[in-house]
């Protein structure tokens, strides 16, 4: 049952992991990654944040945006990357690059601080990037049920809302599987009935 690509070309894919500060993005990445999560940094002049061309801006004030990421070798020729979004949502220039070509996004939610994920949901909806909501259960506690969270976030009924324990490899795996299944279902539906 091995899936060999026709051309035998190596390729990669990525999934974006979003959510508020301290919600467990790096923990989730680390629980399935085959490497210890790495951090990559992008620098931007602060005057140029949100502006595509910063050549006219003198390099005085600069901002560093850090993203943690992990890697899963799906098979010899296909590597999946999991990228955590920068903690501060004002760094939209980096989000553009993160979502470009992504399979979809996992929006992690801490039900004690639900509002922390609003900006991410708005962004993905605006970019039409498929996402699911993963309620991270700290210490095994889930403070609200999935329906409450769905209502509070006012998201469409087809967006999956799942619970997870970001520290647990199986649990994280299941979140990623749910996301890819959801994206595949959406694709098949649209392939049959194009908008």
């Amino acid at each position: 049952m091995s899936h060999r690509p026709a051309a035998g070309r190596v390729t990669s894919a990525k999934i974006v992991i979003a959510g508020g500060f301290g919600v467990g993005k790096t923990t989730l990445v680390g629980s399935v990654s085959e490497i210890t999560p790495l951090t990559t940094e992008a620098i931007m002049t602060s005057a140029g944040v949100g502006v595509d061309d910063n050549r006219q801006v003198p390099g005085k004030m600069t901002t560093t945006v850090a993203m943690d990421f992990g890697r899963i070798s799906i098979d010899r020729d296909l590597i999946l990357y999991l990228f955590g979004t920068p903690g501060q949502t004002r760094f939209w220039f980096m989000w553009d690059e993160l979502v470009r070509g992504a399979i979809g996004a996992v929006v992690m939610v801490d039900t004690r601080r639900l509002a922390d994920c609003f900006a991410a949901i708005d962004f993905f909806e605006h970019r039409r990037l498929p996402y699911l909501v993963a309620i991270n259960c700290f210490d095994g506690m889930q403070y609200h049920n999935a329906q409450d969270v769905r209502d509070a976030l006012a998201i469409s009924s087809d967006v999956p809302v799942v619970s997870c324990d970001a520290r647990n490899r199986e649990s994280t795996k299941n979140v990623l599987i749910s996301l890819v299944e959801y994206v595949l279902t959406m694709r098949r539906t649209r392939a049959v009935a194009p908008a």
């Binding site: 390729t11 894919a13 992008a42 296909l78």
Partner: protein, 125 residues
């Protein structure tokens, strides 16, 4: 060497290794994979190119493909700097860059096949 302890926040310092160039010769995605070519390998043995080139060529050699993001992280270079260097190396034929498969066209069978491979791979983990 007190300057080594200075913060690397200034734009000019990170881009010193690219001689001030901030525009890459090629656009390379964050997750694009980089692999050293035969030419790149002989370049390392011959000691050609700057130390960054040699480091990247060694890192992505022997079937160990690495993404642009990994190269930047492991070299502790800002992403933009790593992108300029890798684009230079690709232009010189020292590395091959494999761009990710596009998922933009939702009716495209190649994208759907890729997602199916990701799904079965995740289930096998």
């Amino acid at each position: 060497m007190p300057e080594r302890d200075e913060p690397t926040g200034a734009l000019v310092r990170p881009y010193a290794v690219t001689r001030g160039r901030t525009r890459p010769k090629l656009e390379i995605a964050l997750e694009a994979l980089v692999e050293t070519t035969v030419r790149g390998r002989s370049g390392i043995r011959g000691g050609q190119g700057g130390s960054e080139h040699q480091y990247i060529a060694a890192m992505c050699d022997g079937g160990r493909v690495q993404s642009l993001a990994e190269i930047a992280a492991r070299m502790q270079l800002p992403l933009g700097v790593a992108r300029v260097i890798v684009a230079d190396m690709a232009t010189d034929g020292l590395v091959a860059v494999y761009e990710p498969t596009s998922l933009d066209d939702e009716t495209d069978a190649v994208g759907t096949e890729l997602l199916e491979r990701v799904l079965s791979g995740l289930r096998r983990l």
